[in-house]
């Protein structure tokens, strides 16, 4: 399958699906994220990168409504996450690096549960298609304990995509997947983006982000270094030293050197 980042021009005119303004999260007195602002429009895939401890996971958890920000506002599809959490959450999906499942529910029971929570009327057909697409249809009656890590992740993905979210957050989406799973995950991300979803991916795998992202946001010590289209970020940091890829841009933006890393 053709893997190419979604085109930026398609989305430029549409209103943002994710709007973040002045997001700040403190753990005690320690700022994990400071005054972060950005927007993601339909069809855009934005890569969230930064060194360990940069605040990527905290940012994602704040955007998904799992933890409350200390300051700032988050709007999902126009709904303020603090004021209208139900409407906002109805439109998003969050995939953590470690699949979070209920030990005692089977694969099918997970989908049934999610369908009732999100009110997905035709969940049986959609669910079956998702399980087949993710190649776990034969595990429908299995408990999570009977699934491999990759299969658990696929189940978490099936649950997250069942209600066709317009906003999707991925935290290290390729962890634990085999090469075929990685390829399918990339395809799936691009497919959802082309269908109009706004996607935010946090990952250390810069080559993955180069393949699937239209935009990049670099964080360091909880602060935004830069955000923009992939091309803009590359150009901005290639002007000084003449480097050409995201990895070079990342190292220059964060002030690291490859040798140190």
């Amino acid at each position: 399958m053709d893997i190419a980042p979604p085109r930026i021009t398609d989305a430029a005119a549409a209103p943002p699906q994710i709007e973040v303004a002045g997001l700040t999260k403190l753990y005690g007195d320690l700022p994990a994220v400071s005054d972060l602002s950005f927007a993601v429009r339909p069809g855009e895939v934005i890569g969230l990168v930064g060194p360990n401890g940069a605040g990527k996971t905290t940012t994602l958890r704040c955007l998904a409504g799992i933890i409350p920000p200390t300051r700032g506002a988050v709007r999902i599809c126009g709904f303020d996450l603090a004021q209208n959490p139900i409407d906002a959450k109805q439109r998003l999906a969050f995939f953590s690096d470690e699949p979070r499942l209920f030990d005692y529910l089977t694969v099918t029971q997970h989908l049934t549960f999610v369908a009732r929570i999100y009110g997905v009327a035709d969940y049986q057909q959609t669910g079956r298609q998702l399980l087949e697409e993710l190649e776990i249809a034969d595990k429908a009656d299995k408990l999570p304990v009977e699934l491999s890590r990759g299969m658990k992740q696929k189940l978490a993905i099936a649950c997250g995509l069942l209600h066709s979210p317009q906003v999707i957050f991925f935290d290290e989406p390729l962890t634990g997947l085999d090469p075929i799973g990685i390829r399918r995950m990339k395809d799936s991300i691009l497919k959802r983006a082309r269908a109009g979803a706004a996607i935010l991916i946090s990952s250390h795998l810069l080559h993955l982000l180069e393949e699937v992202c239209s935009h990049v946001l670099i964080l360091k010590n909880g602060r935004k270094i830069i955000d923009g289209s992939l091309e803009e970020v590359r150009q901005r940091f290639s002007e000084q030293d003449g480097g050409g890829n995201l990895e070079d841009a990342f190292f220059r933006a964060t002030g690291e050197t490859k040798g140190e890393a």
Binding site: I66, Q90, D103, L105
Partner: protein, 586 residues
């Protein structure tokens, strides 16, 4: 090499201790430590401290002089049974319990098997010493004697058993490797035990009168004498001889006797040690698997998720069909009923109802024939179970927020209001508890005797009280279950949630505080409904309709309880919506 392992063990222990001491800077741990310390002092140490002062020691258990040897013989018999079980029960290969970190660091390291075993045995000594101290403190009133002798006696018995457990597991593994299946091995040991029991029985038939009647010697002393004869003559003393040696140090009356008894035990320990070291058994693979399972179980237990600690092996059937349209909280309720396992299905409950109805009818008939004495006893027992269910039920049934808070991030993402999450979570244990209580009420109502001490109990009275109880209990259950869930949300650190849940006696103090707090809140919440029930009952009684008063009073009280519960659920919903995982669980 052992030096490095001791370094690791010593610093692990020291760092853990320092972390706990530092934790006391937080008031919640300091307060818990004070309460836990006071509890330990009053329950365990006060008697010990007072026995060293002028206070008299606790009264030991009285054993007749001619049977003074019986406790040791019984202890030896118990030890023999434990050893026998160690050969019968194992069904998998030998595995030494290492932590995941120990497996990761030690197994690939240039450390010999012998060193690993030595390390494991020496490490187990810390646990054995602590267990010995605790059981000595708990059992100090059982019989008189010296505290250190008893503690060393426990240490000797625990050490031998620990070594034997390891040695037998190695031997069982060797038998497996030689193609001797578990069932063949079990048949051999069970057959041996049965042959020994038959031999003793035959000897008893030939040498002793079979079970003399109580009137021969009067009282219950005849039982002791008879048992004493069985244990002191014939084949049993010979069979028990090695096991008596192991428990002998505990029963030593003074230090001289103790030292004499300790010699053979040390020889037994040395023999076991050489047996283990000489056993050429590959335990590494099974140990890796065991450490993984142990880590999973520990993580689940530390997160308060005891249910998940016993991971489900079999998918449970859903209690009802969940349709995609409808109130979302029903999905949470449905999910938590599934988590209760196979017991929450319509078939199981129908069977239980059948048993309650027909059991009640059958026993009622039997009781009536026998003069009704059985009836009162059973009714009192049912009443006791109902009362216990109110206090123990909410602690035992934890398939609610207490189970799910470790995955609170998943719940937080659900697009439903907080109160619906709380309602769905709490209703599952309420439904199960109320179901059990209704069964008891049904059984009790059917079984309840017509007369108690010449007082007639009309059917209308029985039905009225049963209806009132059936109406009230689910709402009381709901409030009783909301309280620990509220505690879990307000004090998650005290409820052992998250990845790094604390342990130690300060957390025991916290648990005690929570338990008393829960009881107090439950009693307070019952005050107003209880008062309304009483007033209505008295009014109805005044007008000559006491039974109507029972039902009307129960209905009014249930309504008040429902309002209290609704307010509680709304309040907790708000708390859940604001619940900051980053502040509490990470």
């Amino acid at each position: 090499m052992l030096g490095a392992l001791f370094f690791y063990q010593y610093h692990s222990w020291l760092n853990r201790l320092l972390a706990r001491v530092r934790r006391l800077r937080q008031p919640k741990y300091l307060f818990g430590a004070i309460v836990g310390g006071l509890y330990l002092y009053f329950y365990l140490f006060r008697g010990f401290a007072s026995s060293r002062s002028a206070r008299p020691a606790p009264m030991p258990l009285a054993v007749p002089a001619e049977l003074s040897d019986l406790p040791q013989t019984l202890a030896a018999l118990g030890f023999m049974v434990m050893v026998l079980l160690a050969w019968i029960l194992p069904h998998s290969r030998a595995a030494l319990a290492f932590s995941e970190a120990e497996v990761a660091f030690l197994f690939p390291a240039p450390v010999s098997r012998r060193t690993l075993i030595n390390f494991k045995l020496l490490k187990s000594q810390a646990a054995i010493a602590f267990s010995s101290l605790i059981v000595t403190l708990i059992g100090r009133g059982w019989r008189g004697g010296s505290f250190p002798i008893h503690m060393l006696g426990w240490w000797a018995a625990f050490s031998v058993f620990n070594l034997h457990l390891l040695g037998s597991s190695f031997a069982v593994t060797l038998l497996m490797d030689r193609g001797i299946s578990n069932w063949k091995r079990r048949a051999f040991f069970l057959g041996g035990a049965a042959a020994a029991a038959a031999g003793i029985y035959l000897w008893m038939r030939q040498s002793l009168p079979l079970f003399p009647s109580p009137s021969d010697e009067g009282g219950v002393k005849w039982i002791f004498n008879y048992v004493g004869q069985v244990f002191q003559s014939g084949p049993l003393p010979w069979l028990l001889a090695p096991f008596r040696l192991v428990v002998a140090p505990y029963f030593a009356a003074n230090w001289a006797q103790f030292l004499l008894a300790l010699g053979p035990v040390l020889a037994i320990i040395a023999l076991h040690y050489f047996w283990i070291i000489r056993s050429n058994v590959a335990f590494e693979e099974a140990s890796v698997e065991l450490s993984r399972k142990f880590a999973e179980r520990l993580a689940a237990m530390r997160s308060g998720n005891w249910h998940a600690a016993r991971r489900p092996k079999k998918a449970a059937r859903p209690p009802f069909t969940l349709h995609p349209a409808g109130r979302p909280w029903v999905a949470v309720f449905w999910k938590n009923l599934i988590s209760a396992g196979q017991y929450v299905t319509a078939r199981v409950w129908l069977l239980l109802v059948w048993a309650a109805v027909f059991g009640g009818i059958f026993l009622q008939t039997q009781s009536a024939r026998g003069g009704g004495g059985l009836g009162l006893g059973v009714i009192m027992f049912v009443g006791m179970l109902l009362a216990m269910s109110l206090f123990s039920g909410p602690q035992m049934l934890r398939n609610d927020l207490r189970q799910d808070l470790p995955v609170a991030d998943v719940l937080k993402m659900l697009p439903i209001p907080g109160w619906q999450v709380v309602l769905g979570e709490v209703l599952a244990p309420v439904a199960m508890l109320a179901g059990v209580q209704w069964l008891l009420i049904l059984f009790g109502a059917i079984f309840f005797p017509d007369h108690i001490a010449k007082h007639a109990i009309p059917l209308a009275a029985r039905v009225s009280f049963a209806l009132a109880a059936a109406l009230l209990l689910p709402f009381i259950d709901l409030i009783a279950l909301l309280i620990p869930n509220a505690a879990a949300l307000y004090f998650p650190a005290w409820y052992h949630l998250g990845k790094e849940a604390p342990r130690g006696f300060e957390t025991m103090g916290q648990q005690l505080i929570l338990m008393f707090g829960q009881m107090l809140v439950l009693l307070l919440s019952l005050l107003l409904p209880g008062a309304v029930f009483t007033v209505l009952l008295l009014c109805a009684n005044f007008f000559g309709w006491p039974l109507l008063g029972v039902v009307l009073g129960a209905m009014a009280a249930a309504l008040l309880l429902a309002v209290e519960a609704a307010l509680g659920i709304r309040l907790l919903g708000g708390v859940f919506a604001r619940f900051d995982l980053s502040a509490e669980l990470l």
